[in-house]
Symmetry: C2
Subunit: 139 residues, 2 copies
């Protein structure tokens, strides 16, 4: 699905289950793809014995990337012009995350239409893990 200009209404929203039961392997895959090998994300011994966390946790940018996939599924590919987030809680192995976008504004600029979205991602306990905003071009 891709948003079309005639479909736009402020307050409309879209949501997606972006990951179900996040695995440590998926976090390792993200480390490999992004080059971000900080051991807090992948080394159970280091993170529990040295860093003092209960277990490894996801890169904030993995959550940001999975949430961004929901956004591009909503607005269409190559349309996202701005994407900004706050990292509000850790994401742990086993988490199931749902991401949501709501239309907060529709603007005309340079002869085109831009839509502003309010973004949030929550875990299985309804706790926010990420909040943010995005802007996309709409044809």
């Amino acid at each position: 699905m891709t948003l079309k200009k005639q479909d736009l209404t402020i307050g409309d929203s879209y949501s997606e289950l972006i990951v179900e039961d996040l695995t440590r392997t998926q976090i390792v895959q993200y480390a490999g793809a992004s080059g971000d090998y900080n051991p807090v994300h992948t080394d159970e011994k280091f993170v529990t014995e040295v860093a003092g966390y209960p277990t490894v946790f996801a890169h904030g940018m993995l959550t940001m990337g999975m949430t961004g996939r929901m956004v591009t599924n909503y607005v269409g590919d190559g349309q996202l012009t701005y994407y900004g987030v706050r990292f509000v809680n850790q994401v742990w192995p086993g988490d199931t995350l749902t991401a949501r976008a709501e239309i907060s504004a529709i603007r005309e600029q340079d002869g085109g239409t831009l839509v502003d979205l309010t973004i949030s991602t929550t875990n299985q306990d309804e706790k926010f893990v990420l909040t943010g905003n995005a802007t996309a071009r709409i044809s």
Copy 2:
């Protein structure tokens, strides 16, 4: 390295070569890790014959993730509270990207110190591919 409060000066900057000669395989790895399988990033036949691009191109969020790794290398892990970017040009296979952060403000908030950073990522032709802002806690 990790920024310490006593090191902070507005205008200080840090930069990193974040990827040299980006490969199609690295883009495929990111697709697998993020679950973002849009064929414009991985299917040469589709992207040239149907979508009308010269070749596949990187996910914006791969560039955002690699740039974010530079930011967390600068400010320390788990310190980033906000990260927002504009996608200003496509990133193609073969690109070599350099990401830069500059301290734009230092603020006290809730008894802690926050540093605001201006972020940019350029390709081998000195063309911006991403611009943005980030905020991190500094101890």
